[in-house]
């Protein structure tokens, strides 16, 4: 087990805040993440610090600003990303706890080269399932996880899956229309009615 005595003594020394930050600037380990199928190696003490949230790292270090920060406390869902396929709140996750994790953000949907959108994104475009758009990336990620798990959910299941998303413009009704459309097309594709 690691010996923490040294760190404890350092932390207890007088010198206030300035010394505190110097302590953290010594690069130590690396965090290996896969984000949208791209591998990243982040150096702790340089690219990432213990108190950085995943939302912060994605937006500020990796330039992926599609994931939004609304409340920064896990109540609005705007920061929702998929971690190992499950929707989670990136503003409540410490990046240094993500070693080895696979993360999908809104930028990971669709094909940037051909411009083809994910069916959920396309349905949102077709139905104008947004107004200000701030909550939209988070909602799309939750829907992606839901439809990956269950391509044919009932409307009530969709509403429950989206219960953690704060949409204030009230695009909910159009979102549900768009989802019903995606489900229908998915079923048609697989020969279901």
């Amino acid at each position: 087990m690691k010996n923490y005595e040294r760190e404890l003594n350092e932390a207890a020394k007088p010198g206030g805040a300035a010394n505190k930050l110097k302590e953290f600037s010594v690069p130590s380990s690396t965090i290996k993440l896969i984000v949208n199928r791209e591998p990243y190696e982040l150096l702790v003490g340089k690219d990432v610090y213990p108190w950085h949230t995943l939302a912060y790292t994605l937006r500020e270090k990796l330039g992926l600003t599609g994931t939004k920060i609304g409340c920064d406390s896990g109540a609005c869902g705007a920061c929702t990303v998929l971690m190992d396929g499950k929707p989670v709140l990136s503003c409540l996750i410490l990046t240094i706890e993500c070693d080895g994790k696979s993360i999908t953000t809104i930028e990971g949907l669709g094909d940037p080269v051909s411009g083809k959108l994910d069916p959920i994104q396309q349905a949102f475009v077709n139905h104008t399932a947004f107004q200000c758009g701030f909550c939209t990336p988070g909602i799309i990620m939750s829907l992606k996880a839901l439809l990956n798990k269950n391509p044919n959910p009932a409307v009530e299941d969709v509403k429950r899956a989206l219960a953690g998303h704060y949409c204030r413009c009230i695009s909910h009704y159009h979102v549900l229309k768009a989802v019903v459309d995606v489900i229908k097309r998915g079923n048609e594709k697989h020969g279901k009615v």
Partner: protein
């Protein structure tokens, strides 16, 4: 669900009235749309605000030396360091002041390399306060011995009048509603009712994106500001004047993550970023946290109405006399404008010839109120309509019949915000009311005042109705340019940002319709104030009529110039020409045709100009029907069903319109009658609803059935006969819900919001 009513308009359009994807749709669904917190500039610093622990205090001493020494800190400012720039109407609020006036008021500003350094710097600022007594209630604030917030406003009363509303004839515009003879009116009445009602929980419109600003000085006299704006020119012109016309301001509108009016009160925040950027010599981004958004940013006005109402058996209102008290918190941005518009709006839904109705605008020691969707009218009607309902009930008048009778009709008049008298030119709104009532099933559901529609065990269902209208659909000036290129692409230059209404796309549709080219060929300029002509802003649902008119005029102007050129080559009068998909042809001989490219030549751009001047003779109208179920054992009120009914003349984009009307459940609208409220603890002066769990908002799993009935009877607005309606969507709902609950439980229910504790108390169970 959008239910279209009878369409009188026989016009068939290519784009207008046809659902089309929004221009920014792909950017939004891919996450590429850039909101203010997504914008990064080289060398950018993060700004943070040190906030007051006291609701009212004087700063005795403030020491920032330790904070300045912290590595990574590039600027620390106190009231001693900032220029004498002030905001407000009349101007009263400094960027930083020696006095603090609410818990959360700005005490000092810090700019640092990272957020964690800025937060640590805040801890190192040492402040000593002389605590003063605080006041939170309107009536208390008006008392002679009340604590005074501003030396220049005795009794905490903010003077009325809006300089830019009025004229030399009526300086300051509409400030009170006085006409006819109220005493005579009361004599004529069959019943006179007097009462007081309060819309007093100052809820938060709470857009998902917290407010923020990014400021960058280009030179000592030029500053660029990135803002989540609704009106980039309102912001630019305001900043220019409050910086004493010594600084050129360029405002860049970012994709706005919701505003509902509230980010119109962003000037104090913008100034904080601007002064930090100047002091640090680097760009500074200052974005509030959600906690700051809930406790230190725009709330609704608190509204108290004392009124005496005279009414006849036939539903005509013979007199209204009373007082409207408004609490704007510690800072007033546009309260007088909200008063002026509110006073105008009440006349649109109430045909009364005798008024004596006087407002008062008051300061108290809480976070500020400001512009919000409903703009004064919602705050007035939420407190006034329940008094009307009680009067109607005395005469057993069906409220829908009442509103049908009282809604303004073409040829009838009203004072608008500038104090002038206008004669309405609107179509007959009673048709929309009838259709809405039919879809809602009002005849079957209305059982009379204070009678439930249905009773199932402990659950009782009641119905209610509310109305609103706004004649600001044609407010203020708009200008636009349309640039035509030889390759049939057209660029629309208009200073319109995107905050959710889809207006940027709708204006492109109008251009595409006038010029008959593919919609993909129409582009719209970025909403920057330095490249677009003057345009007031996206407020008051003026986008469709006011901005639309300027855009249509600009497109028609460009088309005219194009046809001038083509007519020479086609040897005919320009009046004989038409165009389709980039081909200009002679109307009665379509084989005679040339392309735009041939008509213009490749080395040319045709520029069309359009301008719109204010027109206050048109108004929109919305009626909201609600059905609410009350569980009398737990006091829980559930919104079952909502039907909105309106007439917009011509729908520009069906999904966008529907979205706007569905918005009645957001922006501190209907739900301010059910569970939304800002809770201010008077013992500490702190707002306790300081996070998104404690401030209540509607969740996905709680959606009522919602129908929008939209008629299209052409308005005399512009070639499409359309007016906007989004802004008023939130306003009819709150009083309608209180009516429904009163009917459900069989007694008048008098408090916003109708949470279980209040309903159980009303039922006598507590």
């Amino acid at each position: 669900m959008l239910l279209k009513g009878e369409t009188r308009s026989m016009a068939k359009y290519r784009y207008i009235g046809v659902p089309t994807p929004r221009k920014d749709a792909v950017d939004i669904v891919t996450g590429r749309a850039k909101y203010v917190n997504d914008v990064k500039l080289p060398g950018m610093l993060i700004g943070k605000v040190l906030r007051s622990p006291h609701p009212h205090a004087i700063i005795k001493s403030i020491n920032t030396e330790e904070a300045k020494k912290l590595p990574g800190v590039k600027a620390v400012l106190t009231y001693k360091d900032v220029p004498e720039w002030k905001v407000g109407m009349p101007i009263h609020l400094r960027v930083l002041d020696r006095k603090v006036r609410f818990v959360g008021d700005a005490v000092a500003l810090v700019a640092a390399e990272t957020e964690e350094v800025a937060l640590q710097a805040l801890d190192l600022i040492d402040v000593e306060y002389e605590v003063l007594p605080a006041v939170y209630d309107i009536e208390e604030a008006l008392k002679p011995d009340a604590p005074q917030l501003y030396d220049e406003f005795p009794n905490n009363i903010c003077p009325l009048g809006v300089p830019w509303f009025g004229s030399s004839r009526i300086p300051g515009g509409l400030q009170e509603l006085i006409m006819g003879d109220v005493e005579k009116g009361f004599e004529e009445a069959d019943v006179v009712f007097e009462g007081t009602f309060r819309y007093d929980k100052f809820p938060n419109p709470l857009p998902p994106e917290p407010p923020g600003a990014l400021a960058m000085w280009e030179s000592p006299n030029t500053v660029h500001v990135w803002l989540p704006s609704q009106g980039i020119y309102i912001d630019e012109v305001s900043l220019y004047y409050l910086m004493k016309r010594k600084v050129n301001v360029i405002v860049h509108g970012c994709q706005c993550g919701g505003s509902y009016g509230s980010k119109g009160t962003i000037l104090p925040l913008a100034l904080q970023a601007i002064v930090l950027a100047k002091a640090a010599g680097r760009p500074v981004k200052l974005c509030y946290t959600k906690e700051e958004h809930l406790t230190a940013f725009t709330l609704r006005l608190e509204s108290v109405v004392h009124a005496k109402i005279g009414m006849k058996k036939d539903g005509s209102v013979t007199a209204v006399k009373g007082e409207w008290l408004l609490n704007t918190g510690y800072y007033n941005a546009v309260g007088q404008a909200q008063i002026a518009v509110g006073l105008g709006e009440i006349q649109l839904i109430l045909r009364c010839k005798n008024w004596n109705f006087k407002p008062k605008l008051v300061f108290t020691n809480r976070c500020n109120s400001g512009w919000i969707r409903g703009f004064g009218g919602q705050e007035l009607e939420a407190a006034f309509l329940p008094l009307l309902y009680q009067t109607m009930a005395k005469l057993d008048i069906d409220p829908v019949e009442f509103f049908k009778k009282n809604v303004i009709k073409s040829g009838e008049g009203y004072f608008w915000r500038d104090g002038e008298w206008y004669t309405s030119r609107v179509p007959d709104f009673t048709k929309a009311i009838d259709k809405g009532a039919q879809v809602f099933g009002w005849k079957e559901k209305w059982k009379g005042w204070l009678k439930p529609t249905a009773v199932n065990g402990s659950k009782r269902v009641g119905v209610g109705v509310g109305v609103h209208g706004n004649a600001d659909v044609g407010e203020d000036v708009a200008e636009a340019h349309v640039h035509i290129e030889p390759d049939q692409t057209v660029t629309l230059f208009v200073a319109v940002p995107e905050q959710g209404g889809g207006q940027r796309s709708n204006l492109c549709k109008m251009v595409a319709e006038v010029l008959q080219i593919p919609l993909e060929n129409v582009r719209i300029s970025p909403p920057d104030s330095n490249i677009n002509p003057y345009e007031f802003g996206l407020v008051g649902s003026r986008g469709t009529y006011a901005i639309g008119s300027a855009v249509i005029n600009a497109a028609e102007d460009a088309k005219r110039k194009l046809f001038e050129m083509a007519s020479r080559q086609l040897n005919t009068d320009p009046g004989n020409l038409e165009t389709y998909d980039g081909m200009i042809y002679v109307k009665d001989d379509p084989n005679r045709q040339i392309t735009w490219r041939k008509a213009m030549g490749v080395t040319r751009t045709i520029i069309g100009y359009g301008r719109f001047e204010s027109d206050f003779s048109l108004n929109n109208f919305l009626m909201t029907f609600v059905e609410v179920e009350v569980d009398t054992e737990t006091g829980f009120a559930r919104l079952l069903r909502v039907v909105n009914a309106t007439d917009v003349g011509q729908i520009i984009d069906p999904p966008s319109l529907e979205n706007q009307l569905n918005g009645c459940l957001g922006s501190a609208g209907i739900d301010t009658a059910l569970f939304e409220e800002t809770i201010l603890d008077k013992s500490t002066g702190r707002i306790l609803t300081a996070n998104l769990i404690d401030y209540k908002w509607r969740v996905f799993s709680d959606l009522p059935e919602l129908h929008n009935v939209v008629l299209e009877t052409p308005f005399p607005s512009h070639r499409f006969g359309a007016v906007g309606v989004g802004e008023i969507a939130t306003s009819p709902g709150p009083p309608a819900v209180l009516m429904a609950i009163s009917n459900a439980i069989g007694k008048w229910f008098f408090t916003y919001p109708a949470t279980p504790n209040r309903i159980l108390r009303a039922l006598g169970k507590v």
